[in-house]
Amino acid sequence: MIEVKGLHKSFGEEHILKGIDFVFDTGKTNLVIGQSGSGKSVLMKCMLGLFTPEKGTIEYDGKAYSTFTDEQKRELRQEIGMLFQGGALFDSMTVEENVMFPLRMFTKKRKRELKERVDEVLERVNLNDSGKKYPAEISGGMQKRVAIARAIVNRPKYLFCDEPNSGLDPHTATVIDNLIHELTVEYDITTVVITHDMNSLLEIGEKIAFLKDGVLAWTGDKSQIFKTDDQTVTDFVYSSDLFKKVKEAQRQGL
């Protein structure tokens, strides 16, 4: 479980996060949604320790990150898996080497054991035949799956995903969403997904935090978000033409 309490973050005069309080549950896919510039990515970078908040605390399983020693921070980071927006795979390494990378860095296992674990994870993300290829030789969806494999290979306790569906077609996006959700349940991970993809909300939004202008404007789950009367949430959700038409059709009883 990750708990964020009264989090504030500014860049110069610009106040980005204005007191965020939220609990990210273990074994659930926790979604942070909001328009561009609402503070989603800043929140995630604060949680990852890449930005230092001015006020507030971030607690990992009840322990405040700000009280961690450098060694504890390093240990924590080894328990974190991260799926970047563009995948962030290492170009100079093959798919197999990319997935093996965290294991090589942080474990003392023999090469055969590492290979076995890599094969197991690649099979889990349906990429058993692509191990010898380089990231440039595979599609965007496959790159995302490799990035997921790399993120979970060390059996993390926390998984962060920064707009996992960006640049993917709707079908591949659904595959990635479902994969993230399945792995969250399977490995009992605290998963945090930053997104503004409405399909992701429908697919995997077990717990949702809606940010607007750096403030937590609404919380709930996928069944509640389409029923809420909160104007700020409905403005965001129904800004998509498709959802507008679905709502209209529902109203007309079609």
Binding site: R74, I80, A88, F90, D91
Partner: protein
Amino acid sequence: MKYLQSIGEYFLMLKGIFGRMTKRSVLSNLIFKEIDELIIGSLGIVAFLSFFIGAVVALQTALNLNNPLIPKSLIAFAARQSIILEFSPTFISIIMAGKVGSFITSSIGSMRVTEQIDALEVMGINSLNYLVFPKIIAMLTYPFVIAISMFLGILGAYTAAVMGGFVAPDIFVQGLQEDFDAYHLFYAFFKTFLFAMILATIPSYHGYYMKGGSLEVGKASTTSFVWTSVVIIITNYIVTQLLLS
């Protein structure tokens, strides 16, 4: 003010490089990879340039020696002095700022743009140590490149002077040995070592701290070449003033 900030950032980067070390087995593989890319990969162009510049230095000297009172051995003497003191250590380092420096900046810059450096940091890896330290160690072998350049430069001078019929082989060899001062070699290799550190760290700085997209990677490579060359030239002047004057 911006330059002062950059200088401060550069020295903080140097401190960061020697911070938390990457796992030794991983590091040793990276060092061999960097030696292959930065050093072995540059040998061809260094050999080509050294041989022909050495030849041109000998030709120019020979063609300008019109006074019969000046001994022909001066062709070899002039070639040796210019190659050992300046051409090989300094001129080749400027070329390496273009070749190796741009490669370092663009490869680290691309990693910055595509969030690969963020990925390393999130995993708890000291990205500066992982990316820059192997380059520094690889560049410790750079004086060998300069030694090869010196040898080939003098070989080029010998070939042009002797094959061109400007001087007899024994007179050329005599000129090479004339007033030889081993301290000049120490001076050349000392500054080569400093240039190697400059070549490894300044381009890394420009790549690591770049902001923006792929267009900025190109701009960072150009800026990196300019600043690496400027720092090499200034260092060359200071070292020459301190060690030779």
